[in-house]
Every structure is written in structure tokens, then in C-alpha cells.
């Protein structure tokens, strides 16, 4: 049976759990995965997101999420104004992202220090989301559990090194998925865990030789 708080909640800025709350969550996940405040964002809206974003405030929610606002943050209503003040330039466009969920968005971000991120995700109902693509690679991230996202040049031993750190800290891995663009090319590992991954542990993972980039997504 679904939990009590799957029925009651989320506490959110209206009007739609999928088109507003889920959109804000996707924006916030993109900000965390970028790893720094974004200064430029191109947001491509697909399907129902593209058709109804103005009336649902999906654009406001996505931008609010990029600014780090949670689903119940009333600043979402003035997200464009906050974006201007924080130096975030936004381009909203609509497009066909292929055979994906009707409520899908792609972010192409540039951060304050020049980091870039391409991420696609869907709002799958009730405020729940799924990030399904990072830098063109297939992933599956719900953000409902602590999630470690590591990218590195594909080579033997990296997964063993990551899991060794988690094992030593008694952090249990719930799910794990590794994907790569090709043999020896960029690989992304996504590990969902039962316990939080503290910054100290994250630093240890970051220190693994050859690691490009590591982020932790934490449920709210």
C-alpha cells in the first residue's frame, strides 16, 4: 500500500503536482548535477509541458528549481525576476524530444565557473520525477533516495573503489547502474543508497584517481 504521505502532500506551489511541483524538482536536480549556480540555461519543453507551460507556470517552476527553490517555495511565482537578479539568463523553447513521457524537459546549462550540463527528465505524476539522460547517456534517477552520481573515464577498478568507500562507511547501496558512451570513454555511475552520503564521504569518492566529477542528490 502507498504511504500516508504519498496521498497527503506534497506541500507545494500550485497549480499542478506534475506540471509545477515536479518541474521545480527537475530544475533543482539539474542545478545540483551542474555542481554550481547556473548562469545560462536553455530549457526545451516537450509534449504536455510544451502545450500548457504558461498556464501551469511550468516555466516558473523549472527556473525556480534551477535557482535552488523547493516545490513549496513561494519565490517560484517570481522566478524570472530572481533569475534576472542572480544573473541567470534563460531561453525557453518547445521541441520534440522523441518518444518520451508527455511531461519532459531538457536542460542545457552553463555554470558560473563554466561547467556545463545536458540533462533530460520527466515529471511522472504526483510530483515524482525521473532524470533519464545526462550528457546523452541513459540513467534513471528519481531523487527520492540519497543518490551518488559519478562520472569518470571508463577503466577497471573505479566501481570497486567507489563501493569500497561506501562499504567502509557502512552506507548500503540500494540500486546501482553504470553506463558509458563507449569502451574507455565517459562513464556515469548512479548509486542509490539507504543512508545519507555525508560530504566527507563524497570527498573520499572525489579523491579516487581519475574521477571527473561526483555529486550527491539528497531527498527533501
Amino acid at each position: 500500500m502507498p504511504g500516508l504521505f504519498d496521498v497527503l502532500g506534497p506541500v507545494m506551489i500550485g497549480p499542478s503536482s506534475s506540471h509545477t511541483a515536479g518541474a521545480a524538482r527537475l530544475g533543482k536536480l539539474a542545478r545540483i548535477l551542474l555542481g554550481e549556480p547556473p548562469r545560462a540555461a536553455t530549457i526545451t519543453l516537450h509534449g504536455s509541458f510544451a502545450a500548457t507551460y504558461k498556464g501551469h507556470g511550468t516555466d516558473l517552476a523549472l527556473v525556480g528549481g534551477l535557482l535552488g527553490f523547493s516545490t513549496d517555495d513561494e519565490r517560484i511565482r517570481e522566478a524570472f525576476e530572481h533569475a534576472r537578479r542572480q544573473g541567470l539568463g534563460v531561453t525557453i523553447r518547445t521541441g520534440d524530444l522523441g518518444n518520451v513521457h508527455p511531461n519532459t524537459v531538457r536542460f542545457d546549462l552553463v555554470g558560473a565557473n563554466g561547467k556545463t550540463l545536458s540533462m533530460a527528465g520527466s515529471s511522472i505524476g504526483g510530483g515524482k520525477v525521473e532524470v533519464f539522460e545526462i550528457e546523452g547517456l541513459p540513467v534513471s534517477i528519481s531523487g527520492e533516495r540519497p543518490t551518488l552520481v559519478a562520472s569518470y573515464p571508463d577503466r577497471p577498478g573505479v566501481i570497486a573503489a567507489i563501493t569500497a568507500v561506501l562499504a567502509r562507511e557502512r552506507i548500503n547501496i540500494a540500486t546501482m547502474r553504470v553506463t558509458r558512451s563507449g569502451k574507455g570513454k565517459t562513464a556515469i555511475a548512479v548509486l542509490e543508497t539507504d543512508q545519507d552520503i555525508p560530504e566527507k564521504v563524497l570527498d573520499e569518492v572525489r579523491a579516487i584517481p581519475g574521477m571527473d566529477d561526483t555529486k550527491v542528490l539528497r531527498p527533501e
Partner: protein, 298 residues
């Protein structure tokens, strides 16, 4: 789990359905009961603020300009003593339900209960009854937990999504949840509560989801108000000893089956019903031309 099992268990353990919901959630989530009730209490606070916010500014409109001001109209008639005699509870529930739904349409803060589109029904009816019976907040917290339990069973056996089951799954479920909570606050037994839920679900069975221009505004805001009336009627019946002839769990199964039979055009796609009327289509075409701030930037 079945509603009949939950009601029987609550009776044998001598607890309310709300307390039963807290016990189950406490075990499932592995956290103390106080943590659960504290979270529910914080949601109740947001609900109360949404009722108040929705009545504060009658001139406030949604981003589309389609919603706002109706809660205040009903509240004003009530204040002037012009409502039908003896109808204060219903008029207040209608006004509060509109208020919360208008806040939602205006991008205000609400609690999805069970969804954002149906977020006015539970708080609208609960706070109206609180005033009528001078109830303590704790009675509302317990009733909200009971309402949640009904929603949990519907989510498991049927659906709470308009895209899957039509509006009966959203406003119908919310009315069932509200009816259960109202009945508990009215002193009903767990058995009374689940029958109130069944009566409300039956009253709204088959209701389609046909939002004009795909927005959570027309007819959603006003359907919250009319669904609140169904919730109150159902609670009155259940507290009088009226029973749903079809057992509550079978009503939920029927709702699921009806939901699967509703054509896709009437499940949140805005291709049928009110969305497909001449006026609905003209709003949709007009709406598509509204320019947002960002388009000018981009």
C-alpha cells in the same frame, strides 16, 4: 489492504481510523508516531493558511486570468446572512473549497490532498466543520490521518490520477477522504467512516477529467466546491446509520473499473467534455497566444 479490514482492526484495537493510519505509517516508515502526526499537523497549518489566503484578496487572479474571486462571493453572501436558511456549514465549505482551489490556480502554497487539482475539498470541509462544532486542531489532525488512510487504499486498489481514472479519481477520492474525516469528527465509528467514503465515491463515480486548455482551473476549481457538498451529504448519511449497499471495497474496485472504461479524451487530455466545447476551445486557442515574460528574453 481493505477498508473493511482496517475498520475492523481499528474497532478491535479501540482506536480511530486516524490513529490506525498513524500506527501503520509509523511501522512502515520506521519512525515514531509523533513524527508522523507532527508532519500531518504542519500540513494542516498550510491548509489553514491556504483557506485564509484564498479569501484575502477578491481581486487576485490566476496567471491565465481564468480563476479567482469566487470564494469571496460565496463568503460575502454568507456574511450577509443571505444563504439558504440553515445552510451555513455547506456555504462555508463551498467558500473555503473555492478559496483553496483558487490559491492553487494562482500559484499559491497548498497541500495536494490527494492531488493539487482536488486540493480544496479536504481543507474546505474540515475547516467549515471545525467552526461549526468548535473542534480542537487535534481532532482535525486525526481526521486528516483517517482521510489519508482512505486515499492510501484507493491509491492501492484504484488510482488517484485524473489521467488514469478521470476526475472521479481526483475529486471523487478527495470527497471520499473528506467524508471519512468529517464522519470521524462527527463522532462516527470506523465503520461509519468507511461507508461515508464509499457513499461519496459513489456520488462522484464516472466524473470525467476535461480541463479547459489543459489548465487546473475550469472546471476544477468549482468541482472542488460541488465535491465538498457530496462529502458533507455522505457524512450526514453515514452518521445517520445509512450504509452503502455495495461494500466500500467493492465501490473502490468499481471506481477503478469505471476509470479504465473512460475514453482517453476524458482523462486529462483536454480533447473532450468541457474542454471540447466551443467556449472551451476558444479559451484554449486564446491561451496559446499569451506570451510569457521569458519568451521576450529568449
Amino acid at each position: 489492504m481493505l477498508l473493511s479490514e482496517l475498520a475492523a482492526r481499528a474497532k478491535s484495537e479501540g482506536v480511530s481510523l486516524g490513529q490506525m493510519a498513524v500506527r501503520l505509517e509509523s511501522i512502515e516508515a520506521g519512525v515514531p508516531a509523533e513524527v508522523i502526526t507532527a508532519k500531518v499537523r504542519s500540513m494542516l497549518k498550510v491548509m489553514k493558511e491556504a483557506v485564509e489566503e484564498g479569501l484575502r484578496d477578491p481581486a487576485r487572479r490566476s496567471r491565465s486570468g481564468l480563476s479567482g474571486g469566487d470564494a469571496a462571493k460565496v463568503a460575502r453572501r454568507l456574511t450577509l446572512g443571505k444563504c439558504f436558511p440553515g445552510n451555513d456549514l455547506l456555504a462555508r465549505a463551498i467558500s473555503y473549497s473555492l478559496a483553496v482551489s483558487e490559491v492553487n490556480a494562482c500559484m499559491g502554497k497548498i497541500v495536494a490532498a490527494p492531488t493539487a487539482g482536488s486540493c480544496g475539498i479536504v481543507p474546505g470541509t474540515f475547516f467549515a466543520l471545525k467552526e461549526a462544532l468548535s473542534l480542537e486542531d487535534e481532532a482535525l489532525v486525526d481526521a486528516l490521518c483517517a482521510a489519508g488512510l482512505v486515499g492510501q487504499v484507493i491509491a492501492e486498489k484504484a488510482t488517484l490520477s485524473g489521467a488514469e481514472g478521470g476526475c472521479q479519481a481526483e475529486c471523487g477520492s478527495a470527497a471520499a477522504m473528506a467524508a471519512c474525516g468529517l464522519t470521524q469528527m462527527g463522532g462516527g465509528t470506523p465503520e461509519d467512516c468507511i461507508h461515508a467514503a464509499a457513499l461519496a465515491l459513489k456520488g462522484l463515480m464516472g466524473l470525467v477529467c476535461d480541463p479547459v486548455a489543459g489548465l487546473v482551473e475550469i472546471p476544477c476549481v468549482k468541482r472542488n466546491a460541488t465535491s465538498s457538498a457530496v462529502a458533507i451529504a455522505s457524512a450526514e448519511m453515514a452518521l445517520s446509520g445509512v450504509r452503502s449497499f455495495i461494500p466500500p471495497d467493492e465501490v473502490i474496485s468499481a471506481m477503478a473499473q469505471v476509470g479504465r472504461s473512460i475514453p482517453e479524451s476524458l482523462r486529462e487530455t483536454s480533447r473532450g467534455g468541457l474542454a471540447a466545447t466551443e467556449t472551451g476551445r476558444s479559451v484554449a486557442s486564446k491561451f496559446g497566444s499569451v506570451s510569457s515574460t521569458l519568451d521576450r528574453q529568449g
